[in-house]
Symmetry: C2
Subunit: 326 residues, 2 copies
Amino acid sequence: MRIVVDAMGGDNAPEVVIEGVELALTAEPALQVVLVGAKEATSHVAARYSEQITTIDTTEVIGMGESPTEAVRNKKDSSIVVGCKLVADGLADGFFSAGSTGAVMTAATLIVGRVKGIARPMIATLLPTITDGYVILGDIGANSDVKPEYLLQFARMGETYARLVRGVEQPRIGLLNIGEEESKGNEVTRQAYQLLSQELDSFVGNAEGNEILSGDFDVIITDGFTGNVVLKTIEGLTENLFKHFMQALAPALKDQAIAQVILPELAKLQKKLSAEEIGGAPLLGINGSCFIGHGSSTAKAIANGILATHSAAEVGLSTIISEAAK
Amino acid sequence: MRIVVDAMGGDNAPEVVIEGVELALTAEPALQVVLVGAKEATSHVAARYSEQITTIDTTEVIGMGESPTEAVRNKKDSSIVVGCKLVADGLADGFFSAGSTGAVMTAATLIVGRVKGIARPMIATLLPTITDGYVILGDIGANSDVKPEYLLQFARMGETYARLVRGVEQPRIGLLNIGEEESKGNEVTRQAYQLLSQELDSFVGNAEGNEILSGDFDVIITDGFTGNVVLKTIEGLTENLFKHFMQALAPALKDQAIAQVILPELAKLQKKLSAEEIGGAPLLGINGSCFIGHGSSTAKAIANGILATHSAAEVGLSTIISEAAK
């Protein structure tokens, strides 16, 4: 499989992206990477991995703060636009970028295109649950206003992703809501509950905010507004509580003997809660395997994102989603 | 001020409620309590505090799982219905219950009534910020679908509450949203941004999920669906991360010397993050001072809830909200 990697995407690009590519290539010898970006950033590593890396030189970069629609329209020689075009033209099987979520989403939708029959692609993400597993949460930002039928499609795409890429045999799908009963929620979720109950055997009911990470659900579906707010709430709170704990432990940690016992345990926990192992959020409903990495991705997160893009391309995720949408 | 307390509300009622009433009466000698509930639950404490407690005996209780509208309609002799009637009839200045949020909200709206000019009352809550302060978040569940004008009224009510009851001189109001820019969000929040910018000097802009607890905002306004999901997400995650940390520390805590240094610090942190100090969530836009306590409230949380109800009644919160709504 040939995966396009946006060398210019992310807060620490291109250095961290290049490091991530190297890690991914080492982990997966069958992987072929098309590295898209400024020549001076990519040529060095491409020379060292000449059998696995090809490069496409671009002259423009889409920044994090730019309007996605305008940037994608105007910056024809940006790594995101050129990268998506490679997938659209069948020259590559997938695209990974840790750049602007909005720009990647826009370029993927406009250039790579939607899966036939899917009304709205969504962005999904993995979150670590308290049962040491993962839950897929989507949409986390592509569609601020949704219809019940979109949520049904989100659920079907999430289910397919959980089964094929995550290896969950019988995914349990939940609808993010404000109570257990079907009568709870806003207009859209009340209607979606009915639709999901009728159409989807894997639908197990409403998931409340405190159940997102419980491990009782493999996929939780919501509109992109709520999903985005909740995701950022979880990320922010996790970071803040970690700081609080470290402050509370600070007096004790001055003692070298205590620090030696506690710090490795805390490092393990922090790793478990971090996004590093996850690597990327899939765009589901796009005609190809497209993943977006967190702007602050480490090299390991980038590598995991590239490997996830590769896995999704290998199983033919978008083709199967297209079958499911029929 | 005379505050009605629902003796039957909460997971550990009536015992914990009675304890909470005692704590509140000790803290605030000017407080008069009307204790509404089963005679056998209230008579004992009423005899001991005969100068501060009067009782009204009721025979029915509205359970947590009941449909609020049906329960309020059918259970005329429940503590919630009778308690709200006392406020409506001018026999008391406020109402506190740790019972069913839906039932209290419904009874307060139907029996005590809305403030004239307020389209929709909302439920607000206090959350501890990382800067050791508090932020008021609302609506957290009364209105799943909102209009931009409702959000403007929520903002005005939240501002009034922050100023009068919380003593924040110049409250900074934020709109919960998925980005900083005014163009971000769903249809309702995009319109609300415009309205808030035009109408409210205290509006400082959008607040993203990771900014809720940052201390940069005194009041954050959202629809009751998003607010409820976010609140439960925060409560659930805080509890779970605490468990994770305790597990990570478990090996170290076997050492008595380490435990003696660390445990008091962790207890302090847990207390800071708990809802105990907050006590109750005000119903804003109701024609009286009405507060709802968490079902799992401790005696101290109940006491703080009763005292907050008393403070809000004392400053004439609903009268001032009614002025602001003109």
